[in-house]
């Protein structure tokens, strides 16, 4: 997960930051833990998590579109 975040976002999360966020997301019902796969514990988005992520990305997308349009006009 750390590598995935580093690859697509260019941010290196520390283990404390990752698990702090993960526990908060699980507490809020946005992700859920799946059964262990060996020593790995996979997580997946819940329906609420998917909706929240979609909303957040849509908002970001709108901000990016407006920002790019304004930059292009200068």
């Amino acid at each position: 997960m750390l590598l995935d975040v580093a690859n697509f976002a260019g941010v290196r999360l520390g283990p404390g930051t990752l698990y702090g966020a993960l526990s908060r997301l699980e507490e809020d019902g946005l992700v859920e833990a799946l059964p262990l796969e060996g020593r790995r514990r996979p997580y997946r988005l819940t329906d609420a998590g998917l909706a929240a992520l979609r909303g957040r990305l849509t908002g970001l997308n709108a901000a990016v579109s407006i920002g790019l349009a304004r930059v292009a006009n200068r």
Binding site: G14, P15, Y19, S23
Partner: protein
């Protein structure tokens, strides 16, 4: 880095500790990672505190609000109080043996320390005298259950007491030591 995991809240550690421990095993140990883990532990404690207290401070009803979380750790609190009171308790005990019971050799053994104490800054005296009273308060806090709750718009304060052996022992020691000191200073004051 694994000892840092002990700093995380125990409930959180039971749920995520093993996973985080495995992740730490797979990572190189760097100062940045250590700092990140420390920051994570602090953030979780803060989150727990805020989650417990903040909604209740602003709500007009809901469950009663405990005034402190020390009740969860009465033993640790008693040990901290004992540590704070220990120097004064030892000093008072040795002084009692030397000057009240006049055990042979004790006064000569204690004299250099007493001389040093007389030349020490006044803050040392104050710390020695204040320590048992501070320790008393710390040991007593987990035994007092002060709860604030709002019922039908009225603020209700409930005071409850409970007994924990270790805390009660520390309270007793603090009372004896504090009483001895008060007695000593009263005697000094009256003599002057």
């Amino acid at each position: 880095m694994k000892p840092i995991l002990r700093l995380y809240p125990s409930a959180w550690r039971r749920r995520y500790g093993e996973e985080l421990s495995d992740l730490i095993d797979a990572m190189p140990s760097t100062p940045a990672t250590t700092l990140d883990l420390l920051r994570g532990a602090a953030a979780l404690h803060m989150r727990g505190l805020v989650d417990r207290i903040a909604p209740r401070l602003v709500s007009a009803g809901g469950p009663p609000m405990p005034t402190h979380s020390l009740q969860r750790h009465p033993t640790a609190t008693a040990l901290v109080a004992a540590l704070i009171a220990a120097p004064t308790a030892i000093f008072v005990t040795v002084s009692f043996l030397a000057y009240q019971l006049e055990l042979p050799g004790m006064q000569a053994w204690l004299q250099p320390f007493m001389d040093g104490l007389q030349q020490a800054p006044r803050i040392v005296d104050l710390l020695l005298v204040g320590a048992p009273f501070l320790a008393f308060l710390i040991a007593a806090l987990p035994l007092i259950g002060l709860r604030l709750e709002r019922i039908d718009g009225e603020l209700r304060v409930t005071l409850g007491l409970r007994a924990r052996t270790l805390n009660v022992i520390v309270l007793g020691v603090c009372l004896v030591v504090g009483g001895f000191l008060v007695n000593y200073f009263l005697a000094e004051f009256l003599v002057r």
